[in-house]
């Protein structure tokens, strides 16, 4: 096991965050704060509470989940795409590093960053909204599972992308709609019956539902199913990464 190598990649990626603090930490915090102000305080004060939880508090898990997903995907995809783009990836290929170790470095750093941003947003939310966390251990479990899973997903996107547009398109065109339609802003039982069924194919529904359950004991789907679905998506991403590494797809000639 080349732990020095894993550490080198991890530190390199974390140092990049330090250099781009505005972009990687401040901007998600600011944009999420805007959601809290607009939807939580301004509009939320006119909304009825949902099963005893105020609308502003109801929003918190969904919005944290939104930034966890965005951060994980964009950090991980950029982290592996950039060395491919500038050509420094040659060094990683020529180093005595297994793919697992490369993955640990890049995905570990991306998940760490996303977790940190998620926690900062959770802390910021406290300034606007009074919320409580009923099951902290489950909350942390979802936090970690989500950041790891979506960092893996981002890693795949970073390897797949061969230009900057492709890098942007998945977070914008896939993650954002799935999150908005995945119950960040509403419980899915307010949807018409047909759409309640359709929405269940959206994997983000399970993440948000499970995450929200850890806060308020309030869920769209059973929390066990949420954990299962998240683990399923994790397994899917691992399989994707395994296939890429086995075939050298878009990595090696």
């Amino acid at each position: 096991m080349n732990l020095y190598g894993v550490r080198a990649i991890y530190r390199f990626e974390m140092a990049r965050t330090g250099r781009t603090l505005m972009q990687s930490v401040l901007s998600p915090v600011v944009s999420t704060s805007l959601y809290f102000v607009v939807f939580g305080s301004a509009i939320g004060s006119r909304m009825t509470s949902i099963e005893g939880v105020s609308y502003a508090a109801f929003l918190v898990p969904g919005l944290v989940m939104l930034s966890l997903l965005m951060q994980s995907v964009s950090n991980a995809s950029f982290g592996i795409y950039f060395p491919k783009f500038v050509g420094t990836i040659y060094e990683v290929h020529s180093a005595p590093l297994s793919y697992i170790e490369v993955l640990m470095g890049y995905v570990g750093a991306a998940a760490t960053k996303a977790t940190i941003v998620g926690l900062i947003i959770l802390g910021t939310a406290r300034l606007f909204v009074d919320y409580s966390i009923a099951h902290p251990a489950v909350m942390v479990l979802f936090l970690v599972m989500t950041t790891v899973t979506f960092s893996l997903f981002g890693f795949i996107i970073g390897i797949w992308a061969d230009n900057f547009e492709k890098l942007q398109v998945v977070p914008l065109m896939v993650i954002t709609p799935l999150t908005f339609l995945g119950g960040s802003f509403y419980p899915i039982h307010v949807l018409p019956p047909l759409w309640q069924k359709v929405t269940l194919v959206n994997p983000v529904v399970y993440l948000i539902s499970g995450f929200r359950w850890s806060f308020y004991g309030l869920a769209d789907v059973n929390v066990g199913i949420s954990v299962g679905a998240t683990l399923g998506f994790l397994a899917l991403c691992l399989a994707g990464v395994w296939w890429i590494f086995r075939t050298g797809w878009r990595l090696k000639a």
């Binding site: 080349n2 020095y4 190598g5 550490r7 080198a8 990649i9 530190r11 390199f12 140092a15 990049r16 250099r19 060395p83 500038v86 050509g87 420094t88 040659y90 060094e91 990683v92 290929h93 020529s94 180093a95 005595p96 590093l97 297994s98 050298g248 090696k252 000639a253």
Partner: protein
């Protein structure tokens, strides 16, 4: 004619052995065709060849950047596929193109490289390395602030950061100024004295002539020849005899038409090209026939073909 055994001077045991290596890229381009090559421990081997000949592909396979086709590569007794971790720890690579992390400092990028190759931090070694490469003053500078030559030095520092015993330099002096080139060759010599095996590719044939112990020529994916540099020059080299004439002549007399003679524009110098490998070089009879024709000369000199000429001839033959 892949004979590489005869040449004599024993350098050391083989440190890299390439056997029957093929590589066909996805598009169907055959970059390497059955390469056999032995690199000896502690030598400097120069690989020459025109663009697209397969030099970089060969290096990239040995370093683990490109997947090999058929054939085997063994580095220091370890197969590059089975024992990849060991072989990659041994090898350092300076690629042809400048590929650096623009926003990193020199110091952090070199520390990164060392870690990547699984070595514990050793700041004293890295400090000495940067000093040797005249980079110590620039250690805190971001790489994007450096000149092209300085970036090249950073690439070398990265490649040496994990103390490799086999170093690949892929066209290290392309686009490099005279001073850096001189520094670089001084460093290559020092590395070689410390026992590092060096494989370099270059377009500057005089460098190969100057630096290398052995020279390999690759063309169209095939290794045409690998030979001790001196032996290669002797074996394949043509020599020229130059005769400074007493007075200009109008043209070559009939009696001399059998010789490969060239008259210069000023018509006062004759150049005779001959093959050193032939039993008879023809010099004696030429001189005799010259005096019979009444052509006198005041001075003569001989000149051996440069490696460049040999290279050009070889590649032409292969075509």
């Amino acid at each position: 004619m892949q004979n590489e055994t005869a040449a004599g001077v024993a350098h050391g045991d083989p440190v890299i052995e390439v056997r029957g290596l093929d590589k066909t890229y996805e598009g169907g381009f055959k970059a390497l065709k059955g390469i056999n090559l032995t690199v000896r421990r502690g030598e400097i081997l120069a690989l020459l060849g025109p663009n697209g000949a397969g030099k970089t592909t060969l290096i990239s396979i040995i370093c683990g950047i490109v997947n090999p086709g058929n054939g085997t590569v063994v580095v220091d007794g370890h197969d590059i596929i089975r024992d990849w971790r060991k072989t990659r720890t041994i090898i350092g690579l300076v690629p042809q193109e400048l590929k650096t992390d623009a926003f990193e400092s020199v110091w952090s990028t070199v520390r990164f490289s060392r870690g990547l190759f699984g070595k514990a931090p050793d700041d004293a070694y890295l400090e000495q390395l940067l000093k040797d490469l005249s980079l110590w003053d620039k250690r805190d500078a971001k790489i994007l602030m450096l000149s092209g030559g300085m970036k090249r030095r950073v690439m070398i520092a990265k490649a040496l950061s994990h103390q490799p015993t086999v170093l690949f330099l892929d066209e290290p002096t392309a686009g490099v100024d005279v001073e850096l080139r001189r520094d670089m060759w001084a460093m290559v010599r020092r590395l070689r004295e410390s026992g590092v095996t060096i494989i370099l590719t270059t377009h500057y044939i005089e460098e190969a002539e100057d630096m290398a112990d052995r020279v390999g020529v690759i063309n169209k994916g095939e290794l045409i020849v690998v030979e001790e540099k001196t032996a290669l020059m002797q074996k394949l080299g043509k020599k020229q005899l130059r005769l400074q004439l007493n007075e200009p002549i109008d043209g070559l007399p009939e009696s001399l038409s059998a010789y490969a003679l060239d008259l210069n524009d000023a018509r006062d110098e004759l150049v005779y090209t001959y093959d050193t490998q032939h039993e008879r070089t023809g010099i004696t009879s030429l001189l005799r026939d010259l005096s019979a024709a009444g052509i006198g000369f005041k001075d003569l000199s001989t000149r051996q073909d440069s490696l460049e000429q040999i290279f050009v001839d070889l590649v032409k033959e292969g075509a």
